[in-house]
Amino acid sequence: MSSTKFILGLFDDPDDMMHGIEKLQKNSVPIYDVYTPMPIHGIEAKLGIKESRLGYAAFCFGCLGATVIFSILYYTLVHDWPMDIGGKPNFAMPNFVPFTFEWTILFTAFGMTFTFFAATHLFPGRAPRVMDLRATDDRFVIAIDAKGNIPHDDITNLLKEAGAVEVKHNDRKYVSYE
């Protein structure tokens, strides 16, 4: 049994890579993921990637931020230590609007950033997971899970035909850290 875990097709041209994706799909070879140095239009639709759920996370964090600051304001300014400021009522709604607005945005922004970091394993200090280092430089990489996708030579040929400049049979999933 081969020890290959992942097959990587490296392309030097995004159009060739898109062609490669089509070829693999035509031959019913499931694609694990595609790594490119730059965003490519229409690739999500082609790979059938589900729409990001980051927006829902953002909405929840926004609601959380609004609730947190509203509670703090209510507790401090209305419940615990009411003060007469300019003759306004203690529970003066317009006063609360700027804070609530700012905290909603603050929580949304930070929440979205941290959700994105968590989802992509991009915490500072953590070695990034990269399947091929040149995918961040000048190579467009199609990754195929080797398990169950046999024969490997056929896949290699498909990628080569599509214009891959190099096909790698890797024994490890990630090459970027020990």
């Binding site: 239009h41 229409g42 729409e51 300019g86 003759g87 306004k88 317009p94 609007v97």
Partner: protein, 419 residues
């Protein structure tokens, strides 16, 4: 889906659009005349409504020039294929400007008698708070020190000078930007695009500094005792949201008629983002103006909101926020919503009505005060101007040799726009 677009597609102004807009104009004119004939308080209401709609009309056409300019300055690609619509808006601006000047002059120079604190005064229908005779003359029984202090700005000469100069400048830039684009179609090359860029930069600088003054003069001076530096930006936001909403609505309706098939849900998405974002901006400026006034609670400032908080206006005050903030916030928040043609269409219609109400609340409490109403006068004037705008704008649109700027350098980017 059509994969090939004809670059020679031309808009034919005919059929229901033409008869519909002319019928609307006719019905509206009858309502306007009827309003004046009813006499009494109705005359004041008619003047206020005419000012409202002609200001709205000018703002929408100015928004065409504004939209064109910032697209050129940003070197935006997405809008290149639909730029004919804002160009048609811009080309109507001279007529809209003349109409505004006529309405303003009629209101300024037609006097009527009012009884104020038991005394009879002759005051003009519009701008009575600064244009009444003797307000700035020391020793006159009408003398008012506050207004006298603002006399350099609030005089008929300066008022007209500002109005004519600004509207002429905006109209010129609208004309020049459109001409560059149509010349580009015949000449090709980058010369016209570069010229458009320079024109657009110049316009935006002039526009940024002058639009607030335009709003101060035309609308804020109806209540000349009160002032707010936020008012100009507040009006800019209202003008931009309503203008872009009308632009999007025009494009959606043109598409439904079979024109501009190259405009996709991606372009609509961009319009949705502009409308959504600037509705939030409108709310931000609206609230900033309200909040500072409320917090400081200085009588001469608070009176503005006090009037709008009276029972006659309170419902409309809240409805204004519901229509212009809550509705676009909830209707257009998600990505998918901005890509639904019908959702966009109805939101645009709602916002067009919403910003009518916004202008209503700027004007009416300062002119008709407690004699406000929402009946034939309001609806009739709106219908007349809607018909007039549709007729003039579509006439201008039909004059373009093609609905697509064939030689626009970003045309291909726009045709393949994908987000």
């Amino acid at each position: 889906m059509k994969t090939h677009n004809s670059f020679d597609e031309k808009f034919e102004f005919e059929g229901t659009a033409k008869t519909g807009s002319l019928i609307a104009l006719a019905i509206g004119l009858v309502a306007i005349v009827a309003g004046f004939l009813m006499g009494g308080d109705h005359v004041q209401r008619m003047f206020s409504n005419l000012l409202l709609m002609s200001y709205y009309f000018v703002c929408v056409c100015t928004c065409g020039v504004f939209f064109l300019s910032y697209q050129y300055v940003a070197q935006a690609g997405w809008s290149a294929s639909l730029i004919r619509v804002p160009q048609a808006f811009a080309k109507v601006l001279p007529i809209a400007s003349i109409l505004l000047l006529v309405v303003v002059s009629a209101g300024l120079f037609t006097q009527h008698e009012v009884i104020h604190e038991g005394k009879k005064h002759m005051v003009p229908y519009l701008y009575a708070s600064w244009a009444t005779h003797g307000l700035t003359v020391v020793g006159s029984e009408n003398y008012n020190a506050v207004i006298a202090g603002k006399a350099p700005f609030l005089t008929v000469g300066f008022f007209y000078g500002v109005l004519v100069a600004f509207l002429a400048a905006y109209s010129y830039f609208g004309y020049a930007l459109t001409k560059c684009s149509t010349d580009e179609d015949t000449e090709g090359g980058m010369r016209n695009y570069n010229k458009s860029f320079a024109l657009a930069c110049t316009f935006l600088v002039i526009f940024g500094f002058t639009f607030p003054i335009f709003a101060f003069g035309t609308i804020m001076s109806l209540e000349a005792h009160w002032f707010s530096t936020m008012f100009g930006w507040y009006n800019l936001a209202a003008m931009h949201v309503s203008g872009v909403a009308i632009m999007a609505l025009t494009i959606i309706l043109l598409r439904k008629k079979g024109y501009m098939q190259w405009v996709t849900s991606d372009h609509l998405h961009d319009f949705g983002k502009l409308i959504f974002g600037f509705s939030i901006f409108w709310t931000y400026v609206w609230f900033a103006q309200f909040f500072l006034t409320w917090y400081a609670n200085i009588p001469e400032e608070s009176v503005y909101f006090y009037k709008r908080w009276e029972p006659e206006y309170k419902f409309w005050f809240w409805l204004n926020i519901a229509m212009n903030f809550l509705a676009p916030l909830l209707l257009l928040m998600s990505r998918d919503a901005k890509r639904l043609t019908n959702r966009m269409m109805w939101t645009c219609i709602l916002l067009i009505a919403g910003h009518w109400l916004d202008y209503y609340l700027m004007i009416m409490p300062g002119t008709v005060v407690e004699k406000r109403g929402f009946a034939v006068e309001e609806i009739g004037t709106f219908v007349a101007f809607a018909g007039l705008f549709t007729f003039l704008m579509l006439t201008q649109l039909s004059k373009f040799k093609s609905l697509i700027p064939k030689k626009h350098p970003f045309l291909q980017e726009s045709l393949h726009h994908h987000i």
